[in-house]
Structure formats: structure tokens, C-alpha cells
Amino acid sequence: MEERRSISDIYGGRLALQRRSYSPSCREFCLGCPRLSLRSLTAATCAVWLVAYGLFALCQNSMVLSTAIFITLLGLLGYLHFVKIDQETLLIIGSLGIQMTSSYASGKESTTFIEMGKVKDVVINEAIYMQKVIYYLCILLKDPVEPQRVSQVVPVFQSAKPRLDCLIEVYRSCQEILAHQAVTSTSP
């Protein structure tokens, strides 16, 4: 069962939310971030080349221009591979765990899987971010030594940063699955 919607992030940009329900205990939420805009790419390239031409005019050495080309290419590749996140996914499988995937613009995917035994709870927290107060969803992990304490807070959707409406939806689904899982794990 699939559903697509358009929501906004904390800056007002558009995000695409896709939710899938594979089974009553397995749900997936996919947030698609806005792509790299041609405008910003052109602006960055023009800025670098203007500086390069200025230096070239000063010192008349053509190495400056080749270096500028190199820097632009390497910088773009590095940005696409290490910085620009295209899509963030949250997959919850009751009784197995929670998996978060970030896929970068170059196709690289980085995945983190947290086993259900380590998850204490999923909550929405408030945070002061620059001059704003924003909401973010996070997973609380249990302390292995002391089960009542929270050892780590893992934020979800860190680069997409959706608004509260999307977070509430994800929160409700997670709590449903966690509650169901708690019930089935305690029953014999």
C-alpha cells in the first residue's frame, strides 16, 4: 500500500513524502529532498572562475586556470558524493528493528540499523536551531548496563528536516508498531 504526498520542510521548501505499508508490522517512510538546482551550481562555478581569471590576470600563469577547473570538478564530485542527500528513508520492522537510510546524489547509500532490543522509545523533541525552534523525531536507545537510562539519542531525517505534521504521522505509525511489538513480546 503506497501513498505519496508533498509536504514542506522547516525552511518552506517542498519535500516529497512516500509512505508504504508492507504488512501490519512493517512500514516505510521515504522523504525526498529537493535536487541540486542549476542556479546554485552555475553561481558557484562562475564565482570560482571569476576568482581564477582575476588571479590569472595578475600573475599570467595558466596553471591557475587548470587548477580552477580541477577544483571545480573535484569539488562538485565531492559535494555530490559526501554532502548532498537525495532521499532519506525510515523502515520499521516490528520485532526486528528500525533502519535509517540516506542516499546521496552520487548513488551512495549509508544505512544504520538499530535492533528492536536497543530501542527504548521514539519521541518528538524540540530543539533550538539557529534562530528557530524546530521539532525533530528521534529514537531513544537503552543503556545496556542500566535499562531505565537512555544512553543515546539518534535523530531521524536530519538533512530533510520536515515539519511537525509529517513528524506526527511518522510518530503515530512508529508508536503503533512499537506498542504492538511490546504486547506480542510479553504474551507467551
Partner: protein, 578 residues
């Protein structure tokens, strides 16, 4: 309750048979290791399983039946499979079946205990058996410096139990389909055990080679530790030279790699492999350097260039001292003290240049023989280079020590006389400043001395500043060389290569992918290995070095410089530090 079934993806196309594996009741999951095909005798199956259990310490039992209907559905087979459930009793009894041409399976569980049969929700997780067998999990909370005998608690990570089960059942995977035994199994090695001729030959050859090398190395280290080198001048020199440390360190590495004991666990194996690759790279780079140096008489050119460079440095120092003796940077120095200090240092430089000129006919020969040591490795050459720099700039070191001592004395004298000026005194017993009543003549002489020292301070401070900067420059150059040596020593190249080529061997965890679903069928997931990131690989497998990074923080370094205490930022303690 949710039942998780871990099914090896290599058995998806296997013929019908019995499922054998391990049942983990705490997690309600069944790890399927192999499929036993028809025909079989139940008694022989039970016997085989008990044998395997004894060897591998894993409780392998018959978990259920697997039915791969390649032709039309056979009713009799279904009844037969039900009967098997009564022979091999297991709670719960799994029944997996696959239709021809469909990728969705039917899974049932039979539970005989409960009165009402409850339909468990089943999650089917496919895993790659070969990769699970060979990979090593690196959970973030476990540090690799654990005692080797401690086994982590099994519920620390539930998925680690699955990997553990597969890894420990190695003996099960040794029987392949072409054996003449009573049972026919299907698993990842059922087409035949994988092995490589080169690896087997290397294993056979390594035993005598290791023994020979251990003998040689024990001879060499025995020689090094002999009584000759314990006498005072030699032992002092050996402790100061970084070359000796590096050679000793490499010798220890060689002993560790070629020791006769097998590696106890995976960490030791990785460490041995990393050290071996690091040694190989070192020697390869060293031999490349050797072949470059000895071509076209470059050693001769180097030796010819060395003396003029030393002369040039000495000339520059003399010019610097002349500048200091004049009016440096517009500051007015105390003429008498200036001349004394300047002439003292100039005489030292003159002595130093004479010694260098005395050595000059032998330089080429010394360099030629020292260059031969490049076959021991690039790190040894770099350490020798660092030692040569230290020897050539020994006069700068001496000047720094003289300047620092003078300055230090002056600062302590000034602080003590300043306390006298204020009528206070340092109480050594109580380690604090106390007031004290001085006599008049004490006060008079104290104030006089204080004034003299204060007005002589700029001169001494300037000399101290100049020589400290020079010394810091030399120290920075030496530090860079040591950093390079450290890099070659400690970088775990084998682990990085493994992460690059066989990334499933170093696993940070797992990741799941949801496969195509059909309503009413169990959830299908694919479990893949999530490899460790390069940063964690380097951090986990870094070799310990006799690292000489500065132990002082910037604050304490500045404090020492201000008070004129001698600084040794790259002091090696002689013991290994991680």
C-alpha cells in the same frame, strides 16, 4: 508471536527435504543452515546431527520441512511431510513450500503443545550464507581490547547470534553433495569445498620458513642484547638515536609475524597480516629508494653537497649573531653582555665548522654504507635522515640550551628578587608566598641586583627568543619525518585492502531490504551486510606505535617557553603507546 525464519539464499532452489538449523527461543527465530534431501534414514540424520553438535557446540536440530514443488502439487508428499513432523519432534514445526514459477512461498507453523493452533506471524529473512560465514561483526559497543577469553553475552546483539551460529557450524558445511555419506545436504558449499591451491601451498610452506626465520631473528636479537652494548657511552648513544628505536621496533614486528604460534583469534590474525603488509611496503619503498640513490652516483653528489650546506648554515648563523651584536630590529642592547654572548656563540660555531671539515673526507664513504640500510625499509632511512639532521644541527641545540638556561636563571632570579622588593618570601616548607622582614642591607643589595637583572633582561630574552625559534624549526622538521615514519608503521593496509575488495568481511552491522510482497503471505526481507566505514577500519585496526606526539598541551608548552624550561616535544619514552 512473530516468528523469524533466516533462510539461506543458496537453498532457494534446492530440492525438497528436511530443514536443519538452530532454534533461538529467546528471540523466537529459526536459523536454517542446510537442507537434507530424500532419501534419508531418520536414525542416521539424528546420529549425524549429534556428531556435528559435539564438534561445533551449536545445537543443530531438525526444524521443519521444505517442499519445492517443481511439478504439479503432489498430495502424497504433503501427507509424508506431515508424518515427518511426528518423527523429529520440534516446537514449533516449520513447513515451507514453494510453488513452481512463483516467488512467494507458503509458510506454516505447527505447534503441538497449544490446544488451539495459533497462526504465528512469520517473517522470512534471506541471508547470504557464505558472506555471513566469513564476516566479522564489529558492534560499536565492543572494544577490540577485550580479554581474548571473554565471550560477549549472546543477547547483547541478537543478530550477532545469527552470525555466530553460521560461523561456528563450519563442520556442517564440509560435507558436500558428492560425498559418499548417508546424507545429502544442500548449503553454500554443497557444490564442493572452496579452496585455493596457492593458499594451501603457502600454508604448507610457511611452517619451515617460520621456524627458520624465528631462529635467525633470535640470533640477531641475542646479538643486539649482548653485553657490549650495555656500557655507558654506547647505551647512551643508542637510546638517543631514533634509528635504533625504529630498528628494534621492526625486529619485534618480525618476531611477532614469524612466530611459530598460530593466531588465536581474528584480531591477532588481522594484526599479523597488517604488520606483514606494512613490512612488505616498507621494504619495497626502501628498495626503490635504494635503486634511485645508487644510480648515477647520486650518493657522491649528496656527499659533495653536504659540506657546503653545513658551511652555509654556519655562515648564516654567524651573520645572525653579528646582527644580534649590533642593533637588532632597532632595539638597543646592553653592549657588554651582547659582546660576551655573541663572541661565546661565535667561537662555538667556529669549533663546529672545524669538526665538520675534519670529517669531510669520510662523509662519502659513511653515506654510501648508511644508504645500504635502505634495504631494511623506508622507515629506517627516514629515521637515519632524522638523526643526521639532529647531528648536523647539534650546535643549534647547544645554543638553545645555553640561551634557555641563562634566561631561566634570570627569570627565577627576577621573580625571587621581585618578592624581596615587595617584602615577601617563598616558603619552601609550606609551598606558598609568605611575608618576611628583611634587613636594610639585604633590601639594598636585593633591589640593586633586581635592577641589574631587569635591565639585562631584553638582551638575554632576545638571544633566547632567536635560538628557541631556530630550535623549534629543527624540531618541526624532525617531527614531520617522524610523522611519516609513524604513518607507514601504523596504517593498517591489509584491513583497508580487505574493506576495499572484500567488504563483507568487516561488518559494522546488517541492513534489510524489503522484497516484493503479496497480501496474505509472510513478509520477505533480504538481509545484507553493512560494511564498516574506512574511518572505523583505521581506528579499530591501527597498529600501536612508539608514538612521539606532544604530550603537553599548547598551554603548558607556552608556559614552559615563557619560563625558559627546556622543551622536548617529541620525547620518546621508549615504551609503546597506542
Amino acid at each position: 508471536m512473530v516468528l523469524k525464519v533466516f533462510f539461506p539464499s543458496c537453498c532457494c532452489s534446492a530440492d525438497s527435504g528436511l530443514l536443519i538449523g538452530r532454534w533461538i527461543p529467546e528471540q523466537n527465530s529459526a536459523v536454517i543452515l542446510a537442507v537434507v534431501h530424500f532419501p534419508f534414514i531418520p536414525f542416521q540424520v539424528k546420529q549425524y546431527l549429534s556428531e556435528v553438535q559435539k564438534v561445533s557446540q551449536v545445537e543443530i536440530v531438525v526444524l521443519g520441512t521444505w517442499c519445492n514443488n517443481k511439478q504439479e502439487k503432489e498430495e502424497s508428499l504433503g501427507k509424508f511431510l506431515d508424518d515427518l513432523g511426528t518423527i523429529f519432534s520440534h516446537e514449533p514445526w516449520l513447513q515451507l513450500s514453494k510453488e513452481k514459477g512463483s516467488k512467494f512461498w507458503t509458510c506454516h507453523t505447527l505447534s503441538r503443545q497449544a490446544g488451539t493452533p495459533q497462526e504465528d506471524q512469520i517473517i522470512l529473512i534471506y541471508y547470504d550464507q557464505r558472506k555471513a560465514m566469513l564476516s566479522q561483526l564489529h558492534p560499536p559497543e565492543m572494544s577490540l581490547d577485550n580479554q581474548p577469553g571473554v565471550i560477549p553475552a549472546p543477547d547483547a546483539s541478537k543478530l550477532a547470534a545469527v552470525f555466530d551460529t553460521v560461523a561456528r557450524s563450519e563442520v556442517l558445511f564440509l560435507t558436500d553433495r558428492y560425498d559418499d555419506g548417508p546424507l545429502k545436504l544442500s548449503h553454500w558449499q554443497s557444490e564442493g569445498v572452496e579452496a585455493s591451491i596457492i593458499v594451501e601451498l603457502a600454508k604448507q610452506a610457511s611452517v619451515p620458513v617460520c621456524m627458520l626465520l624465528t631462529l635467525l631473528l633470535s640470533l640477531v636479537s641475542g646479538l643486539c642484547r649482548s653485553r657490549i652494548f650495555k656500557f655507558w657511552p654506547l647505551s647512551f648513544i643508542w637510546s638517543k638515536l631514533s634509528t635504533c628505536e625504529q630498528v628494534g621496533y621492526r625486529l619485534e614486528h618480525l618476531k611477532f609475524v614469524f612466530s611459530n604460534q598460530k593466531a588465536e583469534n581474528q584480531n591477532q590474525l588481522m594484526r599479523k597480516a597488517n604488520i606483514f603488509v606494512s613490512l612488505l611496503l616498507d621494504v619495497a619503498l626502501g628498495i626503490m629508494l635504494l635503486s634511485w640513490l645508487y644510480r648515477k652516483n647520486r650518493i657522491g653528489q649528496l656527499a659533495d653537497a653536504l659540506i657546503p650546506v653545513a658551511d652555509h648554515v654556519a655562515q648564516e648563523l654567524q651573520d645572525l649573531l653579528q646582527w644580534l651584536m649590533g642593533v637588532p630590529a632597532g632595539l638597543k642592547m646592553n653592549r657588554a653582555l651582547d659582546q660576551v654572548l655573541g663572541r661565546f656563540f661565535l667561537y662555538h660555531i667556529h669549533l663546529w665548522i672545524s669538526y665538520i671539515h675534519l670529517l669531510s673526507p669520510f662523509i662519502e664513504m659513511i653515506l654510501w654504507y648508511v644508504g645500504l640500510s635502505a634495504c631494511l625499509g623506508l622507515t629506517v632511512v627516514l629515521s637515519i635522515l632524522s638523526d643526521i639532521i639532529a647531528l648536523l644541527t647539534f650546535h643549534i641545540y647547544c645554543f638553545y640550551v645555553y640561551g634557555a638556561r641563562l634566561y631561566c636563571l634570570k627569570i627565577y632570579g627576577l621573580s625571587s628578587l621581585w618578592r624581596l622588593f615587595r617584602g615577601k618570601k617563598w616558603n619552601v616548607l609550606r609551598q606558598r608566598v609568605d611575608s618576611c622582614s628583611y634587613d636594610l642591607d639585604q633590601l639594598f643589595i636585593g633591589t640593586l641586583l633586581f635592577t641589574i637583572l631587569l635591565f639585562l633582561l631584553p638582551t638575554t630574552a632576545l638571544y633566547y627568543l632567536v635560538f628557541t625559534l631556530l630550535r623549534l624549526l629543527v624540531v618541526i622538521v624532525q617531527g614531520l619525518i617522524h610523522f611519516l615514519v609513524d604513518l607507514i608503521d601504523s596504517l593498517p593496509l591489509y584491513s583497508i585492502g580487505l574493506r576495499l575488495c572484500r567488504s563483507y568481511r568487516l561488518a559494522a552491522g546488517v541492513k534489510f531490504r524489503v522484497l516484493e510482497q503479496e497480501a496474505g503471505r509472510p513478509l520477505r526481507l533480504l538481509m545484507q551486510i553493512n560494511p564498516l566505514s574506512y574511518g572505523s577500519v583505521v581506528q579499530t585496526y591501527r597498529l600501536p606505535t612508539y608514538s612521539c606526539y606532544p604530550k603537553d598541551s599548547w598551554g603548558s608548552l607556552c608556559k614552559k617557553l615563557f619560563f625558559g624550561e627546556l622543551i622536548y616535544p617529541w620525547k620518546q619514552k621508549g615504551d609503546k603507546q597506542d
